[in-house]
Structures are given as structure tokens and as C-alpha cells.
Symmetry: C2
Subunit: 490 residues, 2 copies
């Protein structure tokens, strides 16, 4: 062994934590071959003593190296350096190596991790593009309000939220055709907390709800284990099949339908105006609550979408959720719910009990950012960039994927829905080959409540995450992966 | 009328939103007498047209003026200026004017609002002192990580949280005597979300839990309406009466006991070591989970407190929650839960579903802040200042309150518990007089599950919110209020 771990030079004054300094030194030695495959790393206790650090620091460094595929730890035998080939063969943690283990839980977590691996072009995560976030403008906004408001901004805020931000949202909603007051607007720490708030407040064990099939996977998560019975409403190329709805309402008497009528997740489809109107009539007749998830509204590419259900809803049956995570700043975690009058008091009580109001600093910074023209300008730039990315994806699919693939033509949002030929490899077997070739996506079955035909041969592609050239490269890899997977079939 | 509202000069370039400009102009005119009592304000629609603003802007300005007591709106009659006396007589919104309406919900909200009224010295809210927050250091930390990490810091983070912060917390816990790994540590958006996470995951409808009597009011909120049966464990001057516990366990078979053994909210009491050890033995024998709320640990004034239950817990029965809202930064909303091994997997799944991880920006800024010596230095300064404030409160109570009042002698935390003479006015009737004289507190009954003797004649004082001279002034007012209330009794 030409490299002695005990010789690692640690600098407590470095901004990098000690465990990372250890991790990087060892990773560099492994990469350079100074620590060859199968080398046994020193045991954590004496090694920590040699380095003059806490044992937890070394344990953490080893855990990081294991997570990155550099080493493997065996209980009772210690930690060993893996060889390059073994590293390349294990791009996924064990929990995902078997398709049978792919729960939405595990997968969601992995999508976030894959997004941080530079060797994989991932179309999988449900997030906006980092390179298109208005980071500098938001940093300015943060500093402006920090200076303006002083220490008070770091205190607890009011449960209701920061009033000027509420007013700005009320004004923005008026632009969507939605009339509301602050008293019916509930700020939540991200839109997901809004969905959770509504589901906890409005539904109880034994209730039935309808969800679109396919639907947002986190909504399925929220419902599972709650004692609430979820049933699916099939969708076609124009959104939920409202022609089937009257029958389902009579049969099941559901309390609520959760849906994303505009730039749907995962399909990218938008529901036409007539369907919206028909749905609202049915809801009024059957006293059905509609939970409208509208987080993609700002992200139209070709033309502004139809008005939200909430804007067309004379009977006051629509609970509306939206937020700024997809169109502006995921990290600010600012979402909201607009409640029908009859649910206002119950939501207000639950909102305070659950304590889900976003942090005061982000509320004030967002409010400052929303003043003036910069939000409109940001959306303008974002749409131009995302339109190019969507078009690049569609071009690449036509070029590299087999002829009998079909896909949605999203007019906005983040997602395109790809259907593989039914007689070819499934999305999960394609996934294994795709990862080997350095590309990832979200297999369609994750978005299905019931596994029906089509679920296994569909997948979701987030089209905004990469510039056009990278998108083309990723889909080229995906086409090759499909050929490999198809060739491997018995 | 010498003042014409239509002449208000609005400046769209002003950083103040338009509704606030309108509100301030009208408030100034009311204060100066230019708009005398009983003047009818213009109707919102024509007024908005005159000013060239959206009607919502005027409606909002009026709502603000009404909330501040300047005007009253009557449906169908419009808005009128209130006279000074009417304003002085209605310092509280209608929801709180009748003691019977004092739910914890309403009161909590009002405590936050009262804290913003300069004419009232409030000892009521459950928050740390704004003037002692390390605002400048935290602004530096925010800017450092914003520059260091770029736009990525504004993306969604990992569900698990920011790993280096988790490591820093694991290291801090080691200093408390608590051994844990990242896998059993769950970051939550504030400690309250941690309590909610545990209650949702570990308990189900029909379960019984014990809470200290009195206890943290938000814990009672979380339990109410959940179908979980809460029972009270009486407390004395050294914390929960463990001598009564064996009987209660045999009788009720509760699943969990929620408690704050160190610098208790609301009483300020700390449980001695022997009681902790006896409690842990009982818990192990009866398979009772303990939910230990330790958010006041850092705030000791005289000597470091006994180790947390979690550090003494060989049987792994203690769920531990803590955070940085009371000792550092309420607005960063960073709390956490340490789980016993047998609850780890269930908490991990619920943690991801509920999506309660704190925002990435605050996680990274807090991590940066916790490196180096500044946190230790902050705590040092904080303790010195808060010790002076506690001592000032105790001196003032001895000077201004009636002889037969008694109070706890808190060794840390935020609260002192004051018991009024049982044959004098109750805390709620004292409250009404206190507000008139410009002082506020939290009446004791809010912290009680069952209204027992003592609840009505006790109150909580937050001793850290004001400098010593203001504390003395506030308690002087409280003493006068007590005399008024006692004199008013039949």
C-alpha cells in the first residue's frame, strides 16, 4: 500500500467539515489507484485516534464513501475498497435494484439523488430546472428584507402568514379569475402541505375519494394508510373521463375528487374548457368537492390555459391549491390553499394546529420579489427556455425512439408522458438498461393507483431539466437502452 | 370635514404597498383629529376609482384600520371613525373580550398580535426575545451559503435533510449524552412539526396518552380532535408526580407520556435526576413510550441541567424532540426528532410522506452558523442577559405583587409560573384589568387539560422578552391591575 490513511492532513480551519476532508482524501486515493481495490481501510476507532478526531467523524466519512460506491462495509470484517467495475455495476442502492422494491417512497428519494450524479442525464425528478431559477434576484430580495426589517424577520410569524404576501397572492388570483379574500387563503409550507392540510381536514377514515389515473404520486402517498378509500377515474388525451364520472359518483358516492386539470402531472395533458364546465355541473349536482392542484399554471408555453375550475365554480365546490415551487423557487416552500366558504372555519383551525405556515423570511422575500416587474420577466424567460427544451425533447423522441412509441404534446408544465410499444420491454426493464447507459426517467407505474394495462409500458420525462443538446444526448441513450432491452427479451 | 380622503397622495414607487399608504394616511388623519369620530369613510368602490387603485386595495386598508381599532364597519352602513375612548375600550378583538371565548387557538393568535403593540408590555407569548437574536451573524451565514452554493440552494432538498447539518446535530447531541446516528434523526420544520409527526405516527384513535398538568398548550391542540384520549399527570414543584404514575399506568394503560422535564413550559420547573431515573424504570416496566420535549435545554441560567431522559434511557423508550427555535432562531424553523430503534422505520416513512423537512437555505445557513465558536458565544451572551431579566422579574414580583402570591424559581427556559391568592381575583379577571393598564400575560387555564383548583388562579410570565427596567414597569402595572381587580370584587 503506497498510501497511508493515517497521513491524511486535516485542517480544522477549513470550511469543509472534517468528515468530508477525510472522505475526499480517501476518494482521491481510490480514484488515483493509491488505495487499490480490496484494500482494507483502518478500523474506525484507532483511525479516529490517529487522526485526532471523534470516531463519529470517521464513521460518517466511511458511510459517505459507501454511499458513493467507493467502499463496501461488512459487519465484523471492516471496510474494503471496491474495484472500478464493481462500482460501475452498482449505480443504484440495493433498495432499487429489484423492480419489485420500487415504491414511490424509495423512488422519489432516488430521483433526487440521481439528479446530483453528473454521469446520469436524469429526466426523472419532479422539480424545476436549477439553471433557470432566479437565484441572484432572490438573494437581493432576501438581503433587502433582512436589512429593512431587522431581527423581527427571524422571529415566529403570525399563524395566518405575512399579510402583504397574502394580499399579493389575492391580487395574482384575481388575474386567474379567482375572487377570494385573505380569510379564505391559507399559506402552507409548500403545496404538498396544502394537500395534506385539506385531506386531514375534509376527509376522514372510511371516506371515499377519486383520483385521476395516473396521478401525482405524492397524493397517493398522502392517502395511503389514512383509512381513506381511493378510487381511480380513468384519463384520456384530454384529461379525466368525465363521461364515466356520473356512474362512479352514483356507485361510490365519493366525497372529493383530486385532480390537476392544467398541465397534468405525470401526463402534461390540459383539460378543455367544456370538460371543466361539465365537471363543475356534475360536482354541484352530486355535492362533490373538487381539489384542484394548479401548480403548473404559470408554465404555459404556447398559449395561456383555460381558467382554473375555481374561477368557473359558481357552486363553491372547488378547493384550490397552488404555490411558487414549480414556477419560481422550490426552496422557499411557499404554497397556499383557497377554501370554499363552508370549509373556511375548519381549515383555519387545522391550519393553526398543524403550524404549516411558511417561514417569515421567505414570505417577506417572496413578497418583495413579487413587487415590480421581475416576476413577469422571469416567467417570460422561463417560458422561452422551457419551450426550446420541450421542442428538443419531442424532436429527439422522433429521432431516437422506436416508431411505435407515442407521447403527449404538453402545452406547458414540466412533463411529457411516453408510451412504449406494448409488445416491447416494460418501463422498469428499460430503466435498468437506461441507468447503465447513463439516463433516467420515472417509470409510469409509480403514478397508478391500480396497475392496469398501460401502466407498465409508460414513463414520465421532465423536459425542463437540461439544455436542448443534453436532452438530445439523453434520449439518444434512451433509444439505445430500448434496443438493448428489446434485444435481451426472450 | 377638513380632510378629504380623495386627496390622499399615493406613490406607486414607494416600498410601502398602496393599501398601507392609504391606511397610514387615514390613521394619521384620525389621530390628528382631521377625521373626527363618527365620520363616515367613503364607500370602497368609488373611493378606489377616485384614487385609481383596485377596490381590494381599499378594502384591505379599511380591514387594517378596523383591526387597529380606528374604524368600525357595519354591513349596509359603511365604515365609521371610532372615537378615542371607544378605541381605548376595545384593545381586544371580540373573540377575546369574553373570558369564555378564550380557547388556546384564539389566545395564541392574540399573544402574537399583542407582542406587536407598543403600548402593552406583554409577558404572554411563547417566543424568545427579538433583541437577543443573532440577526447579523445569521444574515452573514445566509449570504455565505448563498454565494458558496449558488442556485442549488434554492432547489428542493433531500427528504432526509442536509447531511452536514444532521452531522452537526448528532455531534451536539453527543454533548448532551445522547448517542444516535443520522438514520434515527428526523429534521422537522420547527419542533411543533416534530411533535405532530410523532403523534401521527405512534398514536392512533382510541389510544390513551398522559400529559403533564399543566402542559404546553399546543400539545393539547394537537391531541384534540384526533380521537386520542388525553389524561393528566399532576405536577408539583419538582415536575410530574411520578409517585402517582404507577397507579395511572395500571388503571389507564397509556401508550405514551408527553413531558418537558427541563425548564418546563409553562411552569419553568426542572425534574431532578432521581425522578428521571424512577420514571425511566417505570416506563421500561410498563412498556410506556416517553415523548421528551427538550427545547429549553440550552437556556440554563444557574447551572447546566440534569441529562435528558433520552441520555439515561437504556431501554430505548424515549422519543426525543428539540430544535433551534427557542435558543437561536425561531424563524429558521429547525427542529428534530430522535427515534427509538423500533420506531425508526415507521417515522422515516411518515417523515417523507408529511414532507416536513426544513427549507434547504435555512438548513445550510444554520449549519454554517453552528461551525466555529459563535453559537457558544451567543449562548453565553443570551444566558447573561436572560439571567438579569429573570432576576428583575423576581425582584419586581416581590415588590409589586400582593404578599400571598407565590411563584416558581426557574433555573432556565423562558417562563415563570405565578400563583395568585385563591381568595382573590382569578387570572382571567386580572387579565381584563391588566390590558387596560398596558400589561399582558398568559392565563394559566390555557395550559390545563382539566380545569382543577389552581388553574383559574395561575398565570405564565415569559421573563426574557424585555430589558429589566421594562420588566419592572410591567409588573408594577400588573400589581396595580391586581389591586383594581381585587377592589372590583363584590
Amino acid at each position: 500500500m503506497t498510501f497511508d490513511p493515517a497521513q491524511i492532513h486535516l485542517d480544522p480551519a477549513d470550511s469543509l467539515p472534517l468528515y468530508q476532508q477525510i472522505e475526499r482524501a480517501l476518494a482521491a486515493a481510490i480514484e488515483s489507484g493509491d488505495l487499490p481495490a480490496s484494500t482494507r481501510l483502518p478500523a474506525t476507532r484507532p483511525f479516529a485516534k490517529q487522526l485526532g478526531v471523534n470516531r463519529v467523524t470517521v464513521v460518517t466519512a466511511y458511510a459517505e464513501l459507501a454511499a458513493e460506491g467507493y467502499i463496501a462495509s461488512h459487519v465484523g470484517r471492516g471496510a474494503f475498497v471496491l474495484d472500478r467495475i464493481a462500482r460501475a455495476e452498482t449505480p443504484l442502492p440495493p433498495s432499487l435494484r429489484q423492480p419489485g422494491d420500487w415504491s414511490a417512497h424509495n423512488f422519489n428519494r432516488e430521483m433526487m439523488r440521481l439528479a446530483q450524479r453528473p454521469d446520469i442525464i436524469s429526466f426523472a425528478p419532479g422539480m424545476p430546472a436549477t439553471d433557470l431559477l432566479p437565484a441572484d434576484a432572490y438573494r437581493l430580495a432576501l438581503n433587502t428584507v433582512l436589512r429593512r426589517d431587522g431581527p423581527e424577520i427571524l422571529q415566529y410569524g403570525l399563524y395566518e402568514g405575512y399579510m402583504p404576501l397574502q394580499d399579493a397572492i389575492v391580487a395574482e388570483l384575481a388575474g386567474f379569475g379567482i375572487t377570494t379574500g385573505r380569510d379564505r387563503l391559507f399559506l402552507t409550507s409548500g403545496t404538498e402541505q396544502g394537500l395534506a392540510l385539506v385531506m386531514r381536514t375534509v376527509l376522514q377514515a372510511g371516506d371515499r375519494v377519486l383520483v385521476e389515473q395516473p396521478t401525482y404520486m405524492h397524493a397517493l402517498d398522502l392517502l395511503s394508510g389514512s383509512g381513506i378509500e381511493a378510487h381511480s377515474l380513468p384519463c384520456d388525451d384530454h384529461g379525466p373521463r368525465v363521461d364515466l364520472l356520473a356512474g362512479l359518483l352514483a356507485e361510490l358516492r365519493p366525497r372529493l375528487l383530486y385532480l390537476t386539470p392544467t398541465f397534468h402531472n405525470p401526463t402534461g395533458v390540459t383539460m378543455p374548457l367544456e370538460r371543466r364546465q361539465y365537471l363543475l355541473r356534475l360536482a354541484a349536482e352530486h355535492d362533490l368537492l373538487l381539489l384542484e392542484d394548479d401548480v403548473y399554471r404559470h408554465l404555459w408555453l404556447d398559449e395561456p390555459p383555460s381558467p382554473p375550475l375555481r374561477a368557473l365554480d359558481a357552486a363553491d365546490n372547488v378547493i384550490y391549491t397552488n404555490g411558487y415551487s414549480k414556477c419560481l423557487l422550490p426552496g422557499a416552500r411557499i404554497g397556499y390553499v383557497v377554501a370554499p366558504a363552508r370549509l373556511r372555519a375548519r381549515l383555519a383551525a387545522a391550519h393553526q394546529t398543524l403550524d404549516v405556515t411558511p417561514g417569515e423570511l421567505h414570505q417577506r422575500a417572496l413578497h418583495h420579489y413579487l413587487q415590480g416587474a421581475q416576476f413577469v420577466e422571469h416567467l417570460h424567460r422561463l417560458r422561452a427556455a422551457q419551450k426550446k427544451r420541450r421542442d428538443a425533447l419531442i424532436d429527439a423522441l422522433a429521432t431516437y425512439m422506436p416508431q411505435d412509441c407515442t407521447w403527449s404534446l404538453p402545452g406547458g408544465g414540466l412533463y411529457l408522458w411516453l408510451k412504449l410499444p406494448e409488445d416491447g420491454p416494460s418501463a422498469t426493464s428499460l430503466y435498468v438498461h437506461a441507468l447503465e447507459l447513463g439516463v433516467a426517467f420515472a417509470p409510469g407505474h409509480l403514478f397508478y393507483l391500480n396497475q392496469e394495462p398501460g401502466a407498465s409500458h409508460s414513463l414520465r420525462l421532465n423536459f425542463v431539466l437540461h439544455p436542448p443538446a443534453v436532452i438530445a444526448d439523453g434520449i439518444r441513450r434512451l433509444g439505445n437502452a430500448w434496443k438493448q432491452a428489446a434485444g435481451n427479451r426472450p
